[in-house]
Symmetry: C2
Amino acid sequence: MTAFEKALDFFRAPNNRLFLIATHVTPEGDALGSSIALAYALRQLGKNAMVYDRDGVPDYCKFLPGAGEVKKTLPQDYSEAVLVLVDCGHPDRAGLEGKSFHKTVVIDHHETDLFYGDVNWTEPDASAAGMLVFRLIKALGVALTKEIAVNLYTAIMTDTGSFRYQNTTPEALGMASELVHAGAEPAAIADHIYNSWTAARFRLLCMALGTFQMKDGVAMMHISKDMFRSTGTGIEDAENFTAYPRMLKDVEVSALLLELEDSIKVSLRSKGDTDVRQIAARLGGGGHKRAAGCKLKMSLNEARDVILKEILATR
Amino acid sequence: MTAFEKALDFFRAPNNRLFLIATHVTPEGDALGSSIALAYALRQLGKNAMVYDRDGVPDYCKFLPGAGEVKKTLPQDYSEAVLVLVDCGHPDRAGLEGKSFHKTVVIDHHETDLFYGDVNWTEPDASAAGMLVFRLIKALGVALTKEIAVNLYTAIMTDTGSFRYQNTTPEALGMASELVHAGAEPAAIADHIYNSWTAARFRLLCMALGTFQMKDGVAMMHISKDMFRSTGTGIEDAENFTAYPRMLKDVEVSALLLELEDSIKVSLRSKGDTDVRQIAARLGGGGHKRAAGCKLKMSLNEARDVILKEILATR
């Protein structure tokens, strides 16, 4: 019996308990879309389901049908509930450390060697948790309502980078096709996810791009404390700014330096063969070959010099 | 008999003439991808096919299989050839004014009331010309080779804005799914199309964003002659810069002003209900409700004032 079949059996079996669907902290489109879609599906099967996220729904995901019903607090009798972890492999990732539940089911697509839970259905090859929920919904014979379609389309679109990442498989695109047929509107969803920047965040981007420098395939950008202060933004607003130097044909490595209160946070990205994990590791950080980072206890100017020197020494 | 059936019959019939496939001037991914894919398909049917474009292949499209065989000059005996216009409805759009051919077939998805050609297959509902070529190829029984798949995927991805525009239909996504299955690599293609900026163009963007100002839902940006000069860029490098203010949640209308030698080129974009065509029309320009433009004979500063005043007066 495969893990998928075990999960199917579990959801098919009569069960009057609460299905407490929880996803990881600081959730994004895939975490929320797949969790909410699963709640709709289980309710169609007559089950009692709710979605929990410790951090709640970020503004740009509030358009998701059902987003208003996502709870930031656990119900009193949570220990009697079935916990369904979606898009995360362990209760700790959902901020549920030390809590116990009647049973736990895991539906995840992150690489793991934990295999936590009474039923653990993990498929690292799936591009998004939303794809697993899609498969489940189909196999359970649940109707693909517009509410479910919008949630699952958002999930798959988010985790494939609007169908631009390596994980954009025929299955991901085929499901997207079916979800649009079922009522998901790609342009409206993309506007919510990608075109909902605050003016403050956009000003921060403009300032950061103003510091852009490039030499020998190395792109450098930074954000000073002053820039954060004058725009009224924080470190979370700079998320994904590393995508901009990536647009350049001749950039091999890019570095974004953020000046925090007491250190410099460095994000390194590689488009080519340079292993930025090595660079980060030498400076006390870590990550992957193409995306890594570290923190440096020095001034912004010193950090720029150190980083540039380390990158040039590695290539 | 539908136009599609007429086109099918035409391509099925034995024909030893040259099939001269031509697309519009300043071609992009859909124009080139659909034209080249059609050439591969016709050759599979034993026909003699070539692709012509007056302006040739822009750098970011040179990765397309077959791009190297696109000609910028007509063969001597062109008047004996069958002209197949792809992604354009009239020879003028392809820079073929005043030329005559044995027969002309049009395969296009732009709205028209001309219906030029011996066979005219125009489907304004299709998201991309590449979708029409895909349908044709399927109906003709041509094998979906990797070469064809890469070209058609590029075509559909380009014209749907990486599956973010209103025209992202279930059919477009379904075809994309099949094309990836046939060997198209979404991430590699997206890198070629979206992440191949020159450093000069990127510097121009940084400078343009440095001029960003927003008030009451109106975003303004400009590029001065000096900025073009100091980055060594031209007006074509500023293409699609209007996409950036669109990222803002609260932007209703955005204006990009380019200072040319003797005038200011204004691009207006609307995200909401404001009809920018009206504004452009009052200033001697034109366009659509959500994308319009005009040229003003005045200084950059004067133009900024005029545009802002007109936008505020319209809302």
